[in-house]
Structure formats: C-alpha cells, structure tokens
C-alpha cells in the first residue's frame, strides 16, 4: 500500500489482456505433469448484497433462453447465454427477514450451531481446496460486513473491509524479519498443539456424553489448526504474486462505491489470475448511508423500504444496476484472461445473490440469484418453481451443483433436496 511504485512493477496486467507468467507457476510442490493431469481447477466467486433486489426491477418477465432483460439486468446482457437468472429459489427454512443475509450461503440459522449444517458453501469449497493455493479462501465486503460465511464449527468468517486491506493481505510480502519470526512462531505453535492435544485426550475418558462432544470440538480444532499451520508453512518460503494494482487510487469514504467497487473486483480478478485463492466472497453491505453514485440521495436501507414509491424505486434501481454493471465488467475480464484450456471465465463460477428478495416486505422468498460461467450450460431466465410440490427450489440445491462442479464429492449440501445438474450440466 505504502509503496505504490513498487507494486506497480508488474508482471500480470490487471487489464487481463495477457499473462506473462505461466499459470499457477507459484504453486509449490506440484510438478508440471501433476498439474496437467489434475485438469483445470474450478473457482468460486460469491457476490452478495445485504438488501435484496427490487423484484419488479430485477426479474425479467419471460422465462427461457431468450428473454427481454429487466432494467437492472441490462448491463449483464453483453454476456447473454453465459449466465442464468433464477426465479423462485429460496432457503426453505429461512424466515428471518434481515437475518436472511447471514444464511445466504448456508441456508441455516445458527442456533446451538455446534457443527450442524452451519458451514457455508464457500467454506466447503475452501476446505476442499485447502492450501493448494496460498489462501483457501478470501473475503471482502463494502459498506459493512454481510457475514454469510461460516466455518463448519459455526464461527463467522472474517471479511476484509476495504480493497486496500485485501490487497495487503494477498499481495504484499512481509519483511524478511517478519517472515523469519513467523516461521519460528509456526514451529512453536505446532509444538504447543502437540502438547495441548495430549492433555485434552487425558480428559476424554473422564467426561460424559455432552462434555465429550465439546471436548471433541476442541480436539477437532487442534487437528485442523495443525493442518492449517502446515498449509501456511508450505507457502512461507514463496513470495506472494506480484500484480499490477494501483495502490494510489483512494476512495474518499466508505460509500464511494464508484471507486471502491472496481478496485474490489480488480483484486478478485487478480486473486484468481495469480491463483492466490480459488474461493472468494464479495459483499455489498446492509446500511443506511447514502451510496455515492450519481442520482442517489437517500440512505440505502431507507430506499429499500420503497413502499412502491417510484422515486425511491428509481434510486434503488441506480444502485442495483451498478451492482450488475460491476459484475458484468468482472465477467468480461475473466473472459479476456486466457488459460491453457480456454479462459478463466469457464473455470470460474460467478454467483450473485441476496438473502432478501424484496426488502420492503422483508421477504426471504424468491431470492434474486444469478449464476454465470463455471462451464455450465446456461439457461437464460430459469423458473425454479418445482412442479411436483409447488415449492421454490432450495438454493442449497444450486450450491450442491456448484460444489460438485468445484470437485467436492457431495450428494446434498446441508439440507439440499437434490441438485440442478439436470438443468445446468
């Protein structure tokens, strides 16, 4: 951050026209042949907004591959055929209104979570890929946290609050001294884990059923921490990827989405292109501040309570169209990035959604969902109303398909009732 000049010395171009570095060159411990035989790895990018999308502006009126775009979807239309808009999809057990934001990626409520169906889709993917890349996953949100990502044990995954922080984390190397200190610390922490595990095992025989579950939770954390330390250690010696990112661009506040959002998506792109991570979440938060886009004059939350007033809906539409514009630009960049097989877009599932649909009603039904890329057969505007039971398709069914596409062997993610393979593959 501080040394913009240095980081501008570039190998990779953010514009994405060409890549000077061979793909995944930074991957230690993998020979060229191994990489080839593994096939082309998939990526998952989950974008969300905290306040839904106004259904009247978002959902197109016709279903099928050819549909007249809704006002908000207009910017995505340059990628027509490469994405699917879903109608009538929801998390059937979620009725938590604003709380639906927290359930977007898992479809569950954290109640006495203790490891039951609380993990979010991104974390399942992250666990699957692990430290194949430097970061199993990375998370960012603008305008305040969305908090849709949960670890298997029910702890909220942290999000970076600004592109600059994310840049620092993903692409700025620690000093040599700091690295050395960290290496010693990793060894020390690994030895601590050995010790405390043995101590905890000593207790195992003594405790009853309910306590055993808690103790098991601790022992699991110890085991996973050991694996995590090994993963981090593996990457210690390798420098972070050098990318072309202009650190001198500054937003004049947290609501300056016009500046912040392109920076955010540039970083998501660079993260994928440099194979720094394969799982990303990016959110536009829920708040009541004025988003600094031309034509927006009122707090976001106030606008979302539009009560069908046209002046409010038209301002809301500016914000929501902006989200789609940003997503569209991101998709274009992915398409321009050539990989050995085709382009990065075909390997990347770009998901957009919200845990609310119409915020004015606080409805958690008919969530606004778009899926692009990932090598799927896209279906234009798809009606996900299930014929056999007249219910909306659980969003976890879509996640199941996405996880399978990512390479995770799963029949049903959380309480999914099936998958959408018959539609998308």
């Amino acid at each position: 951050m501080r040394n913009g000049d240095q980081s501008r010395r570039a190998f990779l171009r953010a514009s994405g026209v060409s890549i000077a570095l061979p793909f995944m060159s930074s991957l230690p411990g993998f020979s060229q042949t191994q990489r080839k035989s593994a096939g082309s790895p998939k990526r998952m990018v989950l974008i969300s907004t905290g306040l839904g999308m106004h259904p009247g502006s978002f959902f197109p009126r016709q279903f099928g591959e050819k549909f007249t775009p809704s006002p908000v979807l207009e910017p995505l239309m340059e990628h027509a055929g490469d994405f699917t808009v879903f109608s009538h999809m929801d998390h059937p057990s979620i009725f938590t209104k604003h709380g639906g934001i927290k359930s977007l990626y898992n479809g569950s409520i954290i109640r006495k979570s203790a490891g039951k169906r609380i993990v979010s889709v991104d974390q399942v993917a992250a666990s699957h890929g692990g430290y194949t890349t430097r970061f199993p996953s990375a998370h960012i949100s603008l305008g305040g946290g969305n908090g849709g990502s949960w670890t298997a044990s029910g702890i909220k995954v942290r999000e970076e609050g600004s592109p600059h922080n994310l840049f620092q984390k993903m692409f700025v190397n620690d000093s040599e001294a700091a690295k050395k200190k960290r290496a010693a610390e990793i060894d020390h922490q690994a030895s601590i884990l050995d010790l405390v595990r043995d101590q905890a095992k000593g207790l195992e025989r003594k405790v009853n059923h309910a306590d055993k579950e808690k103790l098991e939770e601790y022992l699991t954390a110890v085991r996973e921490a050991e694996e995590r330390l090994q993963g981090i250690k593996k990457w210690q010696a390798t420098d972070k990827s050098e990318v072309d990112f202009d650190t001198s661009i500054r937003a004049h506040g947290g609501m300056d989405y016009g500046t912040l959002s392109p920076l955010m998506f540039d970083l998501l792109f660079l993260a994928l292109q440099s194979d720094t991570t394969r799982v990303l979440t990016a959110g536009y938060g829920m708040h009541n501040k004025v988003i600094e886009l031309d034509g927006v004059s009122r707090g976001y939350h106030s606008l979302s309570h539009h009560g069908n007033r046209t002046d409010q809906i038209s301002e809301l539409r500016i914000i929501e169209t902006f989200y789609m514009k940003e997503m569209s630009r991101f998709i274009a960049k992915l398409k321009d990035a050539q990989t050995s097989g085709s382009n990065l877009f075909d390997d990347t599932m770009v998901f957009f959604g919200s845990g609310l649909s119409d915020a004015t009603r606080h409805s958690n039904r008919n969530l606004p969902i778009v899926l692009a890329g990932g090598g799927f057969k896209h279906k234009g505007h798809f009606d996900a109303m299930q014929k056999h039971n007249k219910r909306q398709t659980p969003l976890n069914n879509l996640y199941t398909t996405m996880l399978q596409n990512f390479g995770v062997q799963t029949e049903a993610f959380n309480d999914a009732t099936g998958d959408l393979n018959h539609i998308l593959t």
Binding site: F95, G115, S153, G154, K156, A210, A221, R223, T360
Partner: protein
C-alpha cells in the same frame, strides 16, 4: 487439506434413547406429525426424526401438550389421560440428568477471556486488550455465556495462541534485570509521522497539523517506543497557528484551536489499532504553552496528537469555496502550500517510567514472585510453573498435568537458549489448553473450586481471586455463612460492574443499538446524529439498570417508574424539564408523562424500529417476550409478511386488523398487536407522536390480558398488576446467564420457588439475586 467434513455429516446422537422415543412416538404420530412432520414442518419443526429434537424442543413439546395449547383447538384432541401420561413420560426424561444434562465444559467467552488474562497476568493498566484479536462470539439467542453457542475452531484456537503470546510478552517484558531509570526523551519533530502529507509540516523546530477528523500525528517508530510499560509524563508545548492566513475561514471559525492528546498502538500489519483519548486542551494562537499529563503507557503503545476542531476535509472545503466563487482557484492554496489553521507543536516529550514497581506488577503477578526469580534453578522453575498452572486452570494441579509442561519447558530452553523465553512459550501453551480455555463443571453439586469459578464468572466475568481460591482450598466456601459473606464482598467489588453491564447490555440488546440507523440525510432524524442519541439511549438504560441493582429497588420499576436518567439531549427528545448538560442525571418524571419504566426508553423504541419505520409487531413481541416472559412462536411459514403501505391510505392498525382475520395469525396477534400499536406513540428515535407522517391519528387504545387500556400509562399499569410474570422471566434470564445454559424443567421449579420468595420482598433486586445465589441453581451444575 482434510478438513473433517465428517464432523457435520455425522448426525449427532439423539437426546433421548431410541427405546424412550419409541414410548412417545405413537402419541406424536397420532396428534402431531401431520403438521410437524415431513409434509408440513409447521413452525420449522418436525418430530418424526428423534435426532432433530433437542432439549429446548422437548421442553417446548412438553409445555404445549401439558397446557393444552397443542394440538390446536380445530384438531382432534387426545384423551385427557393420554395427555397426562405422555407429559409425565416427557417430564421424566427431561428431569433425568443422564438424558438432558447439557455440557459442563464452557469456553470462556471473549469478555471473560479478556478479564481472566488481565487478572492472571496483572495487566490492568493502559490500553492493552488481550482479546483484541479474537473472533467475536456468535450467540444467536440468549447470553454470551451459553456453553452450546461457545464453539471453537482451528482459526479461533490459533488466535488464542497468538493472543496468549502477545499478552505474555506484554506482561513479562523487562529490558534488563535492573530497574530502568527515569529518563526524559524529546521526540525529533522533523521525523514525526501520520496525518496527511498535504496538511502536515514537520521541521526541526515544530510539527504542524492542519487537518482534523481522524488524522493523528505521532513520533517515528524508532523514537516512540517506551523502554518498559509504566507510568509516564507526556509534555506537549503547542499553540494554535495560521488562523487567518487563508482566503476563506476554516474551522474552527470561532473559539480556540483545540488539541487532543491520546494513546494509540499499531500492530505490525498496520491494520489493527486502538486509540484512547486522554485529554483536550484549548490552545492560544501563536502563543505556546506547555501541557502535561501522567498516564500509563504500555510497551508498543505511544502518544498521539490530534486537531479536535479542525476541518476533516480541507481539500473538499477549498473546492466547495471555489465552486461558490468565494475564492478564485488561483488563490486557493491546496496541497503542500495549504496554510489553513493548525496546531503547532514545538516540544513533544515523554518522561519516565515514574514510580516503577520492581519487578513490574505484571511480571510479579504472572510469575507470582516478589523479586526477579533465578530461572536457572530447577526448583524455582518448577514452583513458578506449578503456581501459574494452578491459577490458570483455577484448580489444584493434578499429578498428571505438570510433567508434560515441565518437559516442554526444557525443550523450549534447548530451542531458544533462554529460560525466560522458554517459560513464556510454556505459559503460552498453558493458555492454549482446554484446561484454561474451558470452565469445567462435573455432575451434580459443584465442588468448592467449581463453585468459586461459577460465582466469579457470574459476578465478575473473570477468574476467582486469591481469597476465593483459599476458601475453595479449605472448602470453607461450602459453609453457608462464609458463602454469603463472599457474595457480599464480591458484589461490593468494582469488578461486579461486569455483571451489571454485560447482563443489561445483552438482556436489552443495547449492543445492537446502531445496527439499523436512520438515514443520515433525512432531516427528520438529524437529532439522532447531532445529539448522539445512540450513546445517550444506551447510557440511560444502563444507568437505570444499575440504579435498580445498586439501590435495591423493586424490579417492578422496569415495568413502570417515576424516574429515569437523562442528559440534555434526551430531555429534549423526551420533552422533559431538565437543567443539566451532557451528563446523565437522575430525574423525577412528571406525573403526566409516560416515560417511566423501560417502555419509555428511546433505546427500546430505536431497537424495535428498523431505522426507517417503527415495527409495531416487533414492539408487541418485545413486550410479551421481555416484560411478560411469554414470547409468541415465530409466524407460520405460509403467511406472507405485512407490506407497509407508504403511499398512506391505510394505517398499520387497519392492516393488522385485516391480518388477524386469518385464524392462524389471530392467536398470537391478538395478544401482540395491542401493546405494539400503543407503542406507535413513539417514533423510531423515541419521540412522542400523535399522528403518522400521512396525518392519520395514532390510536393507542386496546385490550391487554383481558383488560382495556387507552394509552401507554394504562398499559403499564396492567403489566404492573401482573408483575409476577415479569419477575419469573427476569429470574430465569439471570439464572441462564449464570449457569451458561438454558434452564430445564427441574431448574424452572426452583425459579418458581424463588419468584414466590421474592414476591414477599417486593421483588427487590438484591433479594432476588441473593435468592438465586443461595439456591441450587447456583450450587448445582
């Protein structure tokens, strides 16, 4: 990486054994599963899968079958004897410790971790926060002491290791075996850091800061660090400068330039930092004066200077002035030659450490010594380690515990060549073990050590002190008179603030104030920001709670009172006479005002609004849940939520009346809506209103618990008439906070007894607390 997905794919074991479920299943099948089964799953629950029924759900099933609430009236009813038989079976299961006892292993929550580490390591001074880096505890419902909710993960465990290391570093750091001398160090002003390069000017003789807002300046990294944590005297010589050297007038337009002095820290990654404001000073223009403040500076933290009333965006102001043609672009000096008003510092000195204890308090507390120990001696090392583990685990050290830590200590010495470093490493391991991170309680009656921990974490949110440990060791704490004397002592200790603050904060969700703010651009709610109502609301409710607790008032006053705590801003919002200023004061509420009790608090009104609209249903629900202890169940899934009509032809009352026509809504809404609609008399920031924005009149009348009322004052008298409901709910909540789990039917029987006892004493706060503390609720797991 093999992150064990297995963990959550393996369904957890059912609470009740299969043969027990089989005894209940026929009844469930006949009367319940039609709606609560695979087909409908009403209310999001189903009873056909034993594994899916947890303790809370069993408790609910029991209560609803027993009371006749379920099956609903329009369904076939079970025979009376079947109903009785089945409730008996479920009750027997629910009161069987073998079946329902929830976990006795409770992880320290973030607050408890922070306080425990501070107490254990003697780290009370300065701004150091041991829990700074830890994940927040995610508690869906209830309190942050709930053992089930307090989960752990690999990431959190790694943060614990890191937090322990940083804390021990802070506690055990000494620059040498000798006590450091008191020295005076002046910072090189030309090498100052911070601010914004365009609006700072650093030279040998002075450092000038011309930007306000969050900008701060401080000494460079090589100079600012103190040799050791301790008390220091900060001296700043400064004046206001360049007040009239700019073509337009910049803030402060009138009055003196104000300088803030504070302490901050910067972690190595530059992301986390804390700030603590120390003092503000009025500066004279171009006439330097010296200001001094004595303060604890922890190693790694350092003093900063800020321009309190300076412009936070001088460049934007300049541009705006050009646009308005107040100045010409040519004369507008932006960038480095900007010469708007600023703070000119001509000397910045830190002197100390002053009156340093030797060894330092944290060192002495951590090692539990009076002088620097000789770590070369194996006996000394063994004693120090044993002593530390004993205090950290909050119980005597069993034989099997110590040897592995001693071996670890020796290994670390071989690794680092330094006994102190090895000791620090070993202590880090101690603080990462489950023995430290979890409070452990065995079955049945608590033993002496478990009991003092229970007391201490309940009342202090921290580990027991030495006096409690001694009484546990001698088992004297199990004697009634000793126990009562200790409770008295603990409640009188300043540490008992932890209970009042965290219980009130969580009970009333005061920490959530501000998560749904009004639109900052909406003129109607300007007061919210201008007068900092958020903080004022929070403080009112907290002071109100503390007053009832400290003055041993009746908890009935939560329902209605003739007093509250306001400052100038709140008095304005509440329209109450008040002569004071920004500080909250106790005031008597005029007889014709309805501000008494929690229902008059702006905090409650704001929390039951969403920053845009008031939420009458949420408000009604809040009254039923918090003031009556009988929360209605969540709405059935099939019913769409009400869409507020902002175009303004119907009122919310009319909408709700329509909504109630649906029989599935009727049952709960008939109870919830009247109090909720009465509370429409308060807007989203707690101001009185008689009309909606569209001009329609607000009707506050209704019927509650079978009694008609015209307004909020009358609603409150109905609540007061039924204060035993509130008392029971309040006692239940305190007990859940203390026990770290939801109460089961066995516990609730004790709550009933306590409620009856407390009624005889007018539901006075302290007698309620005393009854809880003396009961089996406290003394049993």
């Amino acid at each position: 990486m093999r992150f064990p997905l297995i963990l959550f794919l393996l369904a957890s074991l059912p609470l009740v054994a299969n043969e027990d479920y089989a005894r209940i299943a026929p009844f469930l099948k006949d009367h319940c599963i039609k709606c609560h089964g695979p087909d409908k799953e009403k209310g999001g629950v189903r009873f056909d899968i034993a594994e899916d029924i947890d303790e809370a759900l069993w408790t609910d099933i029991h209560a609803q079958i027993e009371s006749g609430e379920m099956p609903p009236d329009d369904e076939p009813q079970p025979a009376k004897k079947d109903r009785e038989a089945i409730t008996k079976i479920i009750y027997a299961l629910l009161t069987d410790e073998k079946v329902t006892l929830s976990t006795g292993l409770r992880r320290l929550n973030k607050r408890e971790y922070r306080n425990t580490v501070r107490d254990l390591l003697g780290l009370h001074n300065g701004i150091f926060d041991p829990a700074l880096y830890l994940y927040d505890d995610e508690v869906d419902h209830g309190f942050d002491t709930n053992a089930e909710s307090l989960v752990i993960s690999d990431e959190l465990l790694m943060e614990y290791m890191k937090a322990a290391e940083i804390s021990l570093d802070a506690a055990l750091f000494i620059p040498s075996q000798e006590k450091p001398e008191n020295k005076s160090r002046s910072f090189d002003l030309s090498k100052m850091k911070g601010g914004d390069r365009r609006f700072t000017d650093f030279s040998k003789d002075s450092a000038i800061l011309r930007i306000g807002g969050s900008a701060i300046i401080y000494a460079s990294e090589s100079q600012r660090d103190v040799p050791i944590s301790g008390k220091y005297r900060i001296k700043v010589t400064a004046c206001g400068t360049d007040r009239d050297n700019y073509p337009i007038r910049f803030p402060p337009v009138s009055g003196p330039v104000k300088m803030n002095l504070g302490i901050t820290s910067r972690s190595s990654d530059g992301i986390f930092q804390q700030r603590k404001h120390l003092a503000s000073y009025d500066l004279k223009d171009e006439e330097p004066e010296t200001f001094e403040v004595e303060v604890w500076i922890s190693k790694g933290t350092f003093p900063y200077i800020a321009f309190q009333n300076g412009s936070s965006k001088p460049a934007s102001l300049t541009r705006a002035a050009i646009r308005r043609r107040q100045i010409k672009a040519k004369e507008a000096k932006t960038g480095h030659d900007y010469i708007g008003p600023g703070i000119k510092v001509t000397d910045f000195t830190v002197e100390g450490p002053l009156d340093l204890e030797w060894p330092p308090t944290s060192y002495a507390t951590t090692f539990w010594v009076n002088e620097i120990p000789d770590l070369e001696s194996a006996t000394v090392r063994r004693n120090i380690l044993k002593q530390f583990i004993w205090r950290a685990f909050r119980r005597p050290v069993e034989d099997r515990i110590l040897p592995p830590y001693l071996r670890y200590l020796e290994n670390r010495q071989k690794e680092t060549g330094d006994w102190q470093e090895a000791m620090l490493n070993t202590f880090t391991a101690v603080l990462s073990s489950h023995d430290f991170l979890y409070i452990y309680e065995g079955k049945g009656e608590l033993n002496a050590f478990e009991l003092v921990s229970r007391l201490s974490y309940f009342l202090w949110s921290s580990m027991p002190d030495i006096e409690l440990f001694k009484l546990a060791n001698s088992e004297d704490i199990l004697k009634e008179e000793v126990y009562l004397a200790q409770i008295k002592r603990m409640l009188a200790d300043p540490k008992a603030e932890a209970f009042k603050t965290s219980f009130a904060t969580q009970w009333l969700s005061l920490d959530l104030l501000g998560s749904m703010r009004p639109d900052i651009k909406n003129r109607k709610y300007k007061a919210y920001y201008r007068m900092d109502l958020e903080a004022a609301f929070r403080k009112e409710s907290q002071l109100f709670f503390n007053y009832i607790a400290n003055e041993n008032r009746s908890i009935r006053e939560f329902l209605d009172s003739d007093y509250t705590f306001v400052n100038k801003a709140l008095a304005e919002v509440y329209d109450l006479p008040f002569k004071g200023g920004n500080e909250h004061q106790l005031i008597k509420i005029p007889a014709d005002s309805d501000r008494g009790g929690l229902l008059g608090h702006g905090s409650i009104h704001a929390l039951t609004s969403n920053g845009v609209e008031t939420l009458p249903v949420t408000r009604g629900h809040w009254v039923l849940d918090e003031l009556l202890g009988s929360p209605p169940p969540p709405p059935p899934a099939e019913v769409p939520a009400i869409v507020p009509d902002l175009n303004g032809t119907t009122t919310v009352r009319e909408q709700l009346e329509k909504h109630r026509e649906d029989p599935s809504c009727m049952k709960c809404h008939v109870a919830m809506d009247p109090p909720g609609l009465a509370l429409e008399a308060y807007d989203i920031i707690g101001r009185h209103r008689t009309r909606y924005p569209n001009g329609k009149k607000i009707d506050t009348s209704g019927k509650f618990l079978g009694v008609g009322f015209r307004n909020i004052s009358e609603l409150k008298s109905i609540l007061v008439q039924h204060d035993e409901f509130f008392a029971k709910s309040f006692i239940t909540k305190i007990a859940e906070y203390a026990k770290g789990r939801n109460l089961n039917p066995r516990d609730l029987e004790i709550v009933d007894q306590i409620t009856q006892q407390a009624a005889k004493k007018d539901y006075r706060f302290q007698s309620i607390l005393a009854e809880i503390l003396r009961s089996d609720l406290m003394k049993h797991r």
